[in-house]
C-alpha cells in the first residue's frame, strides 16, 4: 500500500496537471523512486481521479510482476532512474509543446521566466514512440543533460528530486510554448532584451 503522504503528492500533482490541460483523461504517467523500487501510476488510471490503488510498486534493478499493471512506459521510467539521479519522473502531453516539437529540433524560450528556468528544451525523435527499448534509451540519455525534454509528436519527460520539481518544469515548458505560439500569431518582429541570448542555443 502506498505511503499516505506520497499518495497525496501524486494526487495533487495529478489533479493540477489535468486541470492545466497538460494531458488527456487517461494519458501521461508519473513515478517516484524509493530505495531500489519504483512507484508508478498503473496503466489506465486517470490523473484527475487517482486513488491509492492506482499505484504499482515494482523493482528498479529487475523485472517483477508489478509490470503487468504498471504504466506501459515503465521501461522509460526505469531507464531514466538507472541513468540519472532523478527521484521523480513526470510524463505528459502538453499541446502547444507537442505542436512546436513537430517542426523543430529544439524549443528555445523567448520569455524571461522560461529562459531563466529552462534555457533550451531539446526534441528527440523515436520511430516506435510508445514504451519501446529505443525510446527508453533515447529519452534517458537526453535527460542526463537536461531537466525536461520533448519527444517529437508525443509529449514531454521531466525529472526532479520531487514530483513537484518535475511538474514545475512541465508547467514552465507549456508556458514557454504558449508564448512562442502567441508571438507567432502576432507576426511582429522580436525585440531582443536579454544579454547573451544567442548562447541559449548552445545550452
Amino acid at each position: 500500500m502506498i505511503d499516505k503522504r506520497l499518495f497525496e503528492q501524486f494526487q495533487y500533482i495529478g489533479r493540477d496537471i489535468f486541470d492545466a490541460g497538460l494531458t488527456s483523461s487517461h494519458g501521461g504517467n508519473m513515478s517516484v523512486r524509493v530505495g531500489d523500487r519504483i512507484i508508478i501510476k498503473r496503466r489506465g488510471a486517470q490523473f484527475r481521479r487517482l486513488v491509492p490503488e492506482d499505484f504499482v510498486e515494482t523493482k528498479l534493478y529487475s523485472k517483477d510482476s508489478g509490470l503487468m499493471r504498471a504504466s506501459t512506459e515503465l521501461i522509460v521510467h526505469r531507464e531514466i532512474y538507472l541513468r540519472t539521479s532523478a527521484l521523480a519522473v513526470v510524463h505528459c502531453h502538453p499541446r502547444s509543446s507537442i505542436a512546436l516539437s513537430l517542426c523543430r529540433d529544439e524549443i528555445i524560450p523567448i520569455d524571461n521566466e522560461g529562459s531563466y528556468l529552462l534555457r533550451k528544451i531539446p526534441v528527440v525523435s523515436v520511430e516506435y514512440a510508445s514504451g519501446s527499448r529505443e525510446m527508453a534509451e533515447t529519452v534517458a540519455e537526453a535527460l542526463k543533460s537536461y531537466k525536461i525534454i520533448m519527444q517529437r509528436g508525443h509529449g514531454c519527460f521531466s525529472i526532479g528530486e520531487t514530483l513537484e520539481d518535475a511538474y514545475q518544469w512541465v508547467s514552465a515548458l507549456e508556458e514557454v510554448s504558449d508564448i512562442i505560439l502567441k508571438h507567432k500569431l502576432l507576426g511582429e518582429p522580436l525585440i531582443e532584451y536579454r544579454k547573451h541570448s544567442e548562447s541559449y542555443e548552445k545550452w
Binding site: D3, R5, L6, V32, R33, V34, G35, D36, R37, Y61, R83, T84, S85, L87, L143, K144, S145, Y146, K147, E161, T162, E164, D165, K195, H196, S199, K202, W203
Partner: protein, 592 residues
C-alpha cells in the same frame, strides 16, 4: 592550462626528494580533482596497515579543474589523508587564496610523504620548489608564522600548522591564509607528525578556459543566479552563516549542553543578528567570491575572522554559553593554535557533562565562558586535562567510562543539528564517510529552509534518495572544487557546462553526478578495507533511544534502521552496506 595542468608534485620528506609526475588524465576525467582525486590517490597510497601518524601516511593537497579559473568561488582546495581521529579516509576543505595560488604554480595536486628529520617548510615559487629549515618557526602560532613567511593574499600564500599540530592533537587543523581552516579529522596532526611546519606558494600561471565565448556566457549566467538568490546576495553577506542559529533553535534542533536539550534559551544572543549588532566590523570575501559571507569581528583581545555558525554553536549552546565575545575569543585561540572549532567545542561540552556527572575532576561546567580560551590553549599544548581532551571527545569520554557521552559518529564530533529533529540529517551523520559531518550533503535546505522544497523533517520513509543525492552533489562540488554556497543558487547542470567550457571536454550534468557517486563509493570502499562495517553506520545512543524532552521536536528519536535499509538499497549496496560488483562496475571501480 585548461582546467588541469596535468602535473602532480610529489615530495618525500624522508629522502628529501622532489619529483614532478603526470596526472593520469583518465583519473582526472573520472574524479576531477579535490576530494575525488584525493580519495582515489589515497586508495593507492595508504593501506590498512598504516598508522595515520606514521611516516607512511600521506597528505594530498588537491585543487580541481575549475580552481583559479575565475569561476565564482574557484579558490577552494582540499587535503586528503587517513584521519588520526577517525581512522577513515578523510578530506578537509578550505577557502581563502592558497588553493588558487597553488594552482598558479602549475600543479593539480601535491603529495607529501615520509617524515622530515627536523622542522621543515616547503616553498614553491616560479624559480622552483625547495625544502627549507623551519626550526625558528616551530612552536610559533599560526598568526606569527603566517606573517613571518610573508603572507600577501594575492601573491604569496602561507599554509601552516600551529602548536596543536606540532603536539599531534587529533583535533588539529591545517590553517591557510591566516584564518582559513582545513579543519576536520586532525590533518594538522598528520602534518605535525611529518615535522612539516608550512607550505608557501607563489605562482604565475593562469587557468585559461578552452572555450572563451562559452565561458564568458556561463560566468555571466552563474553571476546572475548568485545575485538573484536572496540567500547568496542578502542573507549570507549581511548576517553570515550564524544567521541560521535562530531558525534551528526555533524548530527545536539546536543541540544544547552536549545534546541534552534541543533548544537554547539564549540562542538569540549568539545568533547572526546579535553578531551584526555587537562585535561585527565588516564582512569579507575569499578570492573571486561575490557572496562575501566571512565575518570580521573585534573584541578587546583583537580582530579576526568569525565566528561561523558552527563555532558560535560549539562554544555557545553546546557549552551552555551565551557570551559572544568569549566565543569569538575562543575561536581566535583555535585559529592561532590550529584547531578544529567544532570538535574542540564539542569535546569541551562533553567534558562539561562528564564533570557535572562527577566522572571527571575539572572546573569545567556548562556556562563557564571564562574557561573556554584557557581550555583551548590547554588542548593545543597538551597541558593538564587538555592532554586528554586533545584526542577528541570519544577517547576522552571512553577513558572516563562513558563513551556514549561523546556526541560523535565514527569518532568525529557531530555539528550543530540535533538529528532527532531532522531525520534526514541523522541518516547523513550516520553514513558520512568521514564521520559525523554536515558538509557532506546538509539536509538543512530541504528539511528546514524549503530549499529547493520543504520536506517533512520528521518523516523517515523516502528520505534515503534525497540524502544520497545530496551526498553525491556535495562530493561533486568538493571535487571541482567550488564553495557549496554557490550551489545554493547554481545547480549541477551549470557546473557541468562551466567545466565543459573551461576544459574543452564534454561533461553532462549526469557525468558530474557520477563523479560524486564514484567518489562516495571509493571512500566507502576505503573505509571497508580499513575494517569499518554496517555497525559503524550509527549514532550515539542518546539520539537513538532518548526522545527529546521538550520543545517543538519533543518525543522524537532517530529512526535510523529503516532509513539505513532504504539507503543501502538506493545506493545499490548489499544489506551490509557493501557496494555490489554491479555498482562497482557501473562506476569504473571494478578494479577494487
Amino acid at each position: 592550462m585548461e582546467g588541469w595542468t596535468g602535473k602532480i608534485l610529489d615530495i618525500d620528506l624522508s629522502s628529501r626528494t622532489i619529483v614532478e609526475k603526470s596526472l593520469d588524465m583518465e583519473m582526472g576525467r573520472l574524479y576531477l580533482g579535490g576530494r575525488g582525486l584525493g580519495a582515489r590517490l589515497l586508495w593507492d597510497l595508504v593501506g590498512p596497515q598504516v598508522d595515520p601518524l606514521s611516516p607512511e601516511n600521506v597528505l594530498i593537497f588537491a585543487t580541481g579543474p575549475l580552481t583559479a579559473s575565475g569561476v565564482q568561488t574557484s579558490n577552494r582546495f582540499s587535503v586528503s589523508t587517513k584521519s588520526p581521529l577517525t581512522g577513515t579516509v578523510m578530506d578537509a576543505n578550505s577557502g581563502g587564496w592558497w588553493g588558487m595560488q597553488f594552482k598558479r604554480c602549475g600543479y593539480d595536486a601535491l603529495i607529501v610523504r615520509g617524515k622530515a628529520e627536523k622542522a621543515t617548510l616547503i616553498e614553491i615559487t616560479p624559480e622552483g620548489t625547495a625544502l627549507k629549515d623551519a626550526a625558528n618557526l616551530w612552536g610559533k602560532g599560526v598568526f606569527a608564522t603566517t606573517a613571518a613567511l610573508g603572507q600577501n593574499n594575492n601573491k604569496r600564500n602561507v599554509l601552516c600548522i600551529g602548536p596543536a599540530g606540532e603536539n599531534l592533537s587529533r583535533l588539529a587543523a591545517i590553517m591557510n591564509d591566516r584564518e582559513r581552516a582545513l579543519a576536520r579529522g586532525g590533518p594538522g596532526a598528520v602534518m605535525g607528525s611529518k615535522n612539516l611546519k608550512a607550505i608557501v606558494v607563489e605562482g604565475s600561471q593562469k587557468n585559461r578556459p578552452a572555450d572563451r565565448e562559452n565561458f564568458k556566457f556561463m560566468l555571466y549566467e552563474t553571476g546572475k543566479l548568485i545575485k538573484a538568490s536572496p540567500l547568496t546576495s542578502q542573507a549570507l553577506p549581511e548576517f553570515g552563516t550564524a544567521v541560521v542559529m535562530n531558525v534551528v533553535n526555533e524548530i527545536g534542533a539546536l543541540p544544547t549542553r552536549n545534546f541534552q536539550q534541543s533548544q537554547f534559551e539564549n540562542a538569540d544572543k549568539i545568533s547572526g543578528e546579535s553578531l551584526a549588532d555587537s562585535i561585527l566590523v565588516k564582512n569579507q570575501a575569499c578570492w573571486a567570491c561575490p557572496i562575501s559571507c566571512t565575518r570580521i569581528s573585534r573584541t578587546k583581545k583583537g580582530e579576526g575572522e568569525g565566528p561561523e555558525y558552527e563555532t558560535a554553536w560549539s562554544f555557545g549552546a553546546m557549552c551552555g554559553v551565551d557570551d559572544l565575545e568569549a566565543i569569538f575569543e575562543a575561536n581566535m585561540a583555535c585559529n592561532d593554535n590550529g584547531l578544529d572549532t567544532i570538535s574542540v567545542g564539542s569535546t569541551i561540552g562533553c567534558a562539561m557533562e562528564l564533570a557535572e556527572r562527577g566522572l571527571v575532576d575539572t572546573e569545567l561546567r556548562f556556562g563557564r565562558a571564562d574557561l573556554l580560551v584557557e581550555t583551548v590553549h590547554d588542548i593545543a599544548l597538551r597541558r593538564g586535562l587538555g592532554a586528554e581532551m586533545a584526542d577528541g571527545s570519544y577517547r576522552f569520554a571512553e577513558k572516563y567510562g562513558a563513551p556514549e557521552l561523546s556526541m560523535s559518529a565514527k569518532k568525529l564530533e557531530m555539528p550543530a543539528y540535533d538529528p532527532r529533529a531532522m531525520q534526514g540529517q541523522g541518516l547523513l551523520f550516520a553514513t558520512s564517510n568521514r564521520g559525523g559531518c554536515h558538509m557532506r550533503g546538509n539536509m538543512l535546505g530541504p528539511e528546514v529552509l524549503a530549499l529547493p522544497r520543504l520536506i517533512d523533517r520528521f518523516a523517515y520513509q523516502t528520505k534515503a534518495g534525497i540524502v544520497a543525492n545530496h551526498q553525491n552533489t556535495s562530493a561533486v562540488v568538493d571535487s571541482l572544487v567550488l564553495c557549496k554556497f554557490t550551489n545554493l543558487a547554481v545547480s549541477v547542470e551549470f557546473f557541468a557546462r562551466l567545466l565543459s567550457a573551461v576544459s574543452g571536454m564534454d561533461f553532462k550534468s549526469d557525468d558530474l553526478m557520477k563523479v560524486g557517486e564514484r567518489t562516495w563509493n571509493i571512500e566507502r570502499l576505503y573505509n571497508l578495507r580499513e575494517g569499518f562495517s554496517k555497525t559503524d553506520d550509527t549514532l550515539p545512543n542518546r539520539l537513538l533511544e532518548e526522545p527529546i524532552a521538550e520543545g517543538p521536536s519533543q518525543g522524537h528519536t532517530v529512526h535510523l534502521a529503516p532509513m539505513l535499509e532504504e539507503y543501502y538499497q538506493f545506493r545499490g549496496w548489499d544489506e551490509n552496506g557493501v557496494p555490489t560488483l554491479k555498482k562497482k562496475t557501473e562506476l569504473s571501480l571494478d578494479f577494487i
